[in-house]
């Protein structure tokens, strides 16, 4: 009986060790891929190859959707930025809206950018008259 208890105790101790490690292995919060980090890295270096960066980001978003995981914070925004750089303003706005929906923390800043754009558009309109 005693040895059985000792055996159980040893099993439990082992289980604690194992689960102690397993508990730390939480699932990731977002769809993880190096592609997003690489796309940001290229952009921050002023790499002019927007087509390549757009491909990295659209693939990343598609893969996240397929995996049914949330894209990383800022991923929609970065894709929107790339679209605005290439003149696709409607798509840019679409992805900024997606960022704001996914992460309300971005709402203030995106609102600020929209205000700025309205102002500069008004200046341009004024210049035409």
């Amino acid at each position: 009986m005693k040895t059985k208890h000792a055996f159980l105790a040893a099993m439990l101790a082992g289980a604690v060790l194992v689960t102690g490690c397993a508990n730390n292995e939480r699932p990731s919060l977002y769809y993880n891929s190096k592609a997003y980090t690489e796309a940001m890295y290229l952009y921050l270096q002023d790499d002019p190859d927007y087509a390549k960066q757009l491909e990295l980001m659209t693939n990343y978003i598609t893969q996240a959707e397929t995996a049914q995981k949330k894209p990383m914070p800022g991923a929609y925004a970065h894709l929107g930025l790339l679209y605005s750089k290439t003149g696709a303003d409607d798509k840019a706005q679409k992805y900024l809206n997606l960022e704001r929906e996914a992460f309300p923390e971005s709402g203030h800043y995106i609102g600020f950018l929209e205000q700025q754009r309205k102002k500069s558009a008004a200046v341009r309109e004024g210049g035409k008259q």
């Binding site: 270096q45 800022g74 925004a77 800043y109």
Partner: protein
């Protein structure tokens, strides 16, 4: 690298540093806990290194770990562009921007100031070693209070040199070529960022978990500090 890898690295590191760290004064997390930031404005890092990629690499690398730590890092590329568009082009100038102005534009809860202290490859006769060392400081955007600060370094120095001189030579040449040809410091900056911004990964002063993290408010480091304090108080009482 995924979260599992990081936690395993973190666990291994904890074992190591548990012995190495000579019980320094614990960081006071009171301001951090009180501030409880959700969103972090990560600024383009200043850099002491000659490689102009140092700032972009360490900034891009910070996003994923900070997100997995439970925070919302403000979109770093848009933020960088907004600053440049408004005439602030150098990282050093960006770090001087007044907090009320940053709050007005970005609406973040905290600001992360990063300084890349080392981002270099050292070439020796038969070897080359790349090293990335980063210091990060988190500041409350409303009060300017320091919430957290730490620095961390990683390198690709070979820790298990072969005793065979020919193998050594070949290994050194291969590594030299790799360090030369590939952008090895960028992957190092990613590894470095996972350590620096993963809750619990580096002792004695890890970053706390953010609101999206399941351990938010229950960081192991806070429990340990609490336990140490209680133990110290108990000793005094005796």
């Amino acid at each position: 690298m995924n979260v599992k890898h990081v936690t395993c690295l973190a666990a291994a590191l904890t074992l190591l540093s548990g012995c190495a760290v000579n019980n320094p004064e614990p960081w006071d997390y009171a301001a951090f806990q009180k501030s409880a930031p959700r969103s972090i404005l990560v600024m383009m890092p200043t850099s002491q290194a000659s490689d102009v990629k140092a700032g972009p690499a360490c900034l891009a690398s910070s996003v994923q770990p900070l997100a997995e730590a439970g925070y919302y890092p403000m979109p770093v590329t848009m933020v960088y562009d907004t600053m440049r568009f408004n005439g602030v082009t150098e990282a050093g100038e960006m770090h001087q921007l007044p907090l009320p102005k940053l709050k007005e534009v970005f609406g973040a809860d905290a600001v992360m100031y990063i300084d890349v202290e080392e981002y270099d490859t050292t070439y020796k006769v038969l070897d080359s070693v790349s090293k990335v060392k980063v210091k990060a400081r988190l500041v409350d955007i409303n009060t300017g209070a320091d919430l957290w600060t730490n620095s961390f370094a990683v390198s690709n120095a070979d820790s298990t040199p072969s005793s065979n001189p020919i193998a050594q030579l070949i290994g050194a040449v291969v590594k030299h070529v790799v360090n030369e040809a590939a952008d090895v410091k960028f992957p190092l900056s990613r590894t470095n960022a996972w350590y620096l911004y993963t809750p619990g990964a580096i002792r004695p002063t890890p970053i706390l978990a953010g609101p999206y993290h399941p351990q938010y408010g229950n960081d192991a480091i806070l429990k340990k500090i609490e336990a140490d304090r209680a133990a110290a108080a108990g000793q005094k009482a005796q």
